[in-house]
Symmetry: D2
Subunit: 398 residues, 4 copies
Amino acid sequence: MTNPAPLRVAMIGYGFMGAAHSVGWRQAPRMFDLPRAVEMTVVVGRNADAVASAAAKWGWAESATDWREIIARDDIDIVDIVTPGDSHAEIAIAALEAGKHVLCEKPLANTVAEAEAMAEAAERARARGIRSMVGFTYRRVPAVTLLRDMIAEGAVGTVQQVRAAYRQDWLVDPEMPLAWRLQKEHAGSGALGDIGAHIIDMTQFVTGQGVEKVSGTIDTIVTERPLPSDGSMGLAKGAGAAETGAVTVDDVAIFTGRLANGALVSFEATRFATGRKNALTIEVSGDRGALAFDLEDLNSLRFYDRTAPDGRQGFTQILVTEPQHPYVSAWWPAGHMLGYEHGFTHQAVDLVTAIADGTDPHPSFAEGLAVQRVLDAVERSSTADSAWTRVGAPVPAL
Amino acid sequence: MTNPAPLRVAMIGYGFMGAAHSVGWRQAPRMFDLPRAVEMTVVVGRNADAVASAAAKWGWAESATDWREIIARDDIDIVDIVTPGDSHAEIAIAALEAGKHVLCEKPLANTVAEAEAMAEAAERARARGIRSMVGFTYRRVPAVTLLRDMIAEGAVGTVQQVRAAYRQDWLVDPEMPLAWRLQKEHAGSGALGDIGAHIIDMTQFVTGQGVEKVSGTIDTIVTERPLPSDGSMGLAKGAGAAETGAVTVDDVAIFTGRLANGALVSFEATRFATGRKNALTIEVSGDRGALAFDLEDLNSLRFYDRTAPDGRQGFTQILVTEPQHPYVSAWWPAGHMLGYEHGFTHQAVDLVTAIADGTDPHPSFAEGLAVQRVLDAVERSSTADSAWTRVGAPVPAL
Amino acid sequence: MTNPAPLRVAMIGYGFMGAAHSVGWRQAPRMFDLPRAVEMTVVVGRNADAVASAAAKWGWAESATDWREIIARDDIDIVDIVTPGDSHAEIAIAALEAGKHVLCEKPLANTVAEAEAMAEAAERARARGIRSMVGFTYRRVPAVTLLRDMIAEGAVGTVQQVRAAYRQDWLVDPEMPLAWRLQKEHAGSGALGDIGAHIIDMTQFVTGQGVEKVSGTIDTIVTERPLPSDGSMGLAKGAGAAETGAVTVDDVAIFTGRLANGALVSFEATRFATGRKNALTIEVSGDRGALAFDLEDLNSLRFYDRTAPDGRQGFTQILVTEPQHPYVSAWWPAGHMLGYEHGFTHQAVDLVTAIADGTDPHPSFAEGLAVQRVLDAVERSSTADSAWTRVGAPVPAL
Amino acid sequence: MTNPAPLRVAMIGYGFMGAAHSVGWRQAPRMFDLPRAVEMTVVVGRNADAVASAAAKWGWAESATDWREIIARDDIDIVDIVTPGDSHAEIAIAALEAGKHVLCEKPLANTVAEAEAMAEAAERARARGIRSMVGFTYRRVPAVTLLRDMIAEGAVGTVQQVRAAYRQDWLVDPEMPLAWRLQKEHAGSGALGDIGAHIIDMTQFVTGQGVEKVSGTIDTIVTERPLPSDGSMGLAKGAGAAETGAVTVDDVAIFTGRLANGALVSFEATRFATGRKNALTIEVSGDRGALAFDLEDLNSLRFYDRTAPDGRQGFTQILVTEPQHPYVSAWWPAGHMLGYEHGFTHQAVDLVTAIADGTDPHPSFAEGLAVQRVLDAVERSSTADSAWTRVGAPVPAL
């Protein structure tokens, strides 16, 4: 047996997500038995010094400033895109056309049109054996994967209601400056597109059903914020100057969706949930049971079994740290907790495995597009006095 | 000082709520120092034997079958109405006109028109010193009263978002029979009117603001159910017969509201939240803090103080069992838990005190009407494709 | 069928426990279907005005100052003793000899010798059909009764370890005055006898096994406290005067016990657990599962089932508010919480039922004596450098 | 400024702890700004193939089978010992004498005599600028470091009681084979030495006080177990053969300690806490507040502030994920959870920093010896009928 060639990764972007993806690429081959080795070849950014420093810190062999040059190189197999959403489409489509496997951070794009072009590019590339994947990493928190698996096994029976919320509070402070995430031209949307995208994807992932129509409201609670004092787009508190600018994205999005089977889903994405730091919660209610997850308690899954004997029913807190649980056996003994960044390792493992096996990884660009269409429908509903609005196109098979 | 005459109570109705109100009247003078004594004079119901049995069991001096006769009696001071909603208006208005103080279970009525008539009758009676009050007893769970007090003191600052949900699961079982609560002609509405009313009232109570417009969806998940086998309207599981009938009320209501200050409120009232038995939850987020309550953990209030030092912030679980807390000093030492029915005792205490002091108790019928108008607006929004719908009339000062 | 005569109760004592027992006697016939009616005939205390006031407040028909006269009366069936521990033996033995059924608050007595005399008196009275019972009311919290039932059914298999703790914090404040509970001559012992007694009884109750030997340490953390300023023995904070006195009982007791089957039990009774108000916790670990209870969350029981499928195990939070659960069907629908004083109602129900049925209620005086012997062994071990010390006599069949 | 030479690490041993330490060495320079670079030079084990495979997997440049050769090499700066306890003393002393900085897994040794020799060797080496450190990594869970810092700042006032427990359940299964951890000659002791050591160290660490005497009991619940079928010493369930052997270490240790200031500490170390997987809990009660931590919820610290206003007190759940918290700013934004292995990264960071700065890292070998002496005193107390037993020598300044 010949040793398969390693997969060589180029990462475009080096912000917070760059650090997280770097952990994923670094840890995946060290904790899991991968079918192909991984090389952290190059990281790309506009500021040469800063990106060189990031490369040295995070363990990338090289750094570069021109992503077009990088995707033209023969010695790159995977392009990992962690830039703001307004550049996803251009980079991803070029990379796919250059024959690179692509991992693209979520949300897939800032507009449905861009996402459609990306999904089409992915479909064309797929015919040539090129893989693509969207970075909805929370799917790969072991408790979330288990939640999906248990629903698929029938643990909750027919899904009758879903509640999904993503609550943060970092915008409660009115002095928080006007970062790029608060500017529509860069971020596309605010809480809706950034964190609402996660709960839409998670709902579709765990139920195996698409959101077919929505009624929703989006709102901006603090409409003016200080401009970042240094011209940067940083988020650091207190970096604000005297001058202010308009917040052009939403702070909060509250919407209701219908799944394919008619079940109602209540969604909330907000950055004004005082005291909630990163509280992604989902609860799926069915006629045989319920499953509930909270990202602030991410090693637990709560399961209510309506088929248990009367008087013995209740929510069971499953500590998802057993070797039987998804991804866990590669890590520590039972009861040893995993954290936020483990999902990035699992993402790298799954992408490498799919490439090696010649299968399609998930979430596909088509699934990313499906999320984008729901986001778009929410925005349209919000401007239509919250009237129920159809999601634009058939949802792909998940 | 002459000893004031006791207040003599007639209770109309004797279902589950009758038992709870009876505890309230029985315990109030035994645990609290009331300004006037209370006498449990008579309980009224249509079935003479059943109501006599209830009277004997619960400690009412007499029973009777004709409420009109009872409210005509001189030796009755308070009429306590615990019948289904379709009879509230007739009884309450007659009692007020007869010069009786009235406590009426929630929701105030089945329609806005009835509620308006009741509020007008209450206003007329008020001019003659007659008091009226709606039975939103959850206001009187000590943790809820404390929540309101802390918001009034500025503990959360400006309210920016509210989440209020009331989740039960007793309808998940499709064999649960078609009880009166599932029939529009008796119950007025389903989850919305029964339990949704509680979270609307609680939101208005704790924030001190009215819900001014709503966008919502109501839905019936199980549309046919077995008829109660014995012709009764009982809720007992397994009492269903082969024949079925249509459920004519909602199972679930999901709606968004706007408070007077513009803050968004997300509401959910459902009987399909598998595993959630009586889970009324509310969380109020403001620019200085947040407060959260869960009726399934009713002795606790959680407070997040954004003004606490950085790195020391978090949700504080206040065990609301200290003598400083509302109502608590009349009960047990710190750490000794109160239960569901204590709210009914507090309700009796507050009504008796208001009557003795000559002040207006809360929630008034006007406040009950305000809830009714929100319920109505939700139903109208639901039939208007969830469009934002104004609540029908100015909300009374709370 | 002739209507059985009511049981007429005399309560001796009227402190905090008097209020709680009064609720029990008041509520039992109103919420449960009792085989015999109950009359709250007389309450007895040394201060005529104060006890008359208590009688009026709590609903006792009469008050009196001489307990000997009361137990001599023909129209008394049950004597309910809620005085401090130093008077239990005298009153209980006299009442039993006078042919009265006796309910005696825990701990049964202040010394083993007293408890032995009481148990003998109870045994003699039993031969004449006279019933006696100790007031370990926490046995009658539904979740605790269920815990016992589930162990009896084999839910945890063989008991291998038990942890039982009772934690309060009201003595952390050094200004808390020297109340009677802190004086050995009145209280017998401190945290050990007052709250340690509860966890010993609960352990023996739920496991069905006696504690056969112990190794323990008792300690007094704050050894001098202000004398109560008014000469009373009240607990009110701030009632302290400039003069101080010696605390003659323990503040904290930490001990380990061996059950009959060899399992180790760790016990802690303390009034210095800052922030813990009334935190009685017990966890029973067995080879098939575990059960855990916390009095500060008293409507829940947590069950870990080791026989559940791998990967699906976890602690299930059973909300003990279902009609299938002990005592619950007499109260409210599922999800409606019970509180501290419900145990006193259940106690009254069980005593009345036992008297009517001619069976022996539990916990018997012999069981109360068994607890006393464990307390005594802990004190002896503590003075013997914590050496393992046998509990003095065979433990009665439980 | 010349670039300081990297620190070159040799790790001796490659079991479960080897994987965890490898993560620490791999992540430390990638997530933190270290004063000196780190090189993962060589991993050493007895089985050449297995250790070569571990080296390749975990990213060590080389592997080797003779630790004596390795510590003789000039190109090794740090020796990291993760072998079973019976070899710690020999390797550590040799490494120190060879002038290598040493990180030694806990417990420091299997006997007090070994630990004393190690502490003396460390002291001698220290005079030559050689650093040594014991691997009590739980000190470096951010919430635990914060707990210590808050006590040092006076947040709980005078410590009056401590509860520390470490509960696992992997031995409840009687088929779990007789692994090396269950054999006294390899492991030294059982639950006491392995997990009891952690809670002793943590207690001494967070209170800044030594445990001066103890009274305790150790016990073996399952005394015979199947021999590992393959002659290995693995822990895998079901690896047992028909033949059985005697368990020669304890399964459970329950002991009470006295801190220097007289405060009582209750300790429990057990592998028979059914359903508890890795539940290290500690609660420190003082006259101004309390702090509580649970390793199964490791991103939280609970703080009760007795100086907060009456009626507003309660346990505050501090989510220890803020940039102000120890170690956290190197990781993710607020609300993003850390896991088990992050402590190993922090350990590597602190050791590298101490070496670079020329300061003594903690826990020192003297602190490790202090733990060993407490373990020894517990064993002596247990064989002396649990009599209070002095810890053998003055506890070092912590």
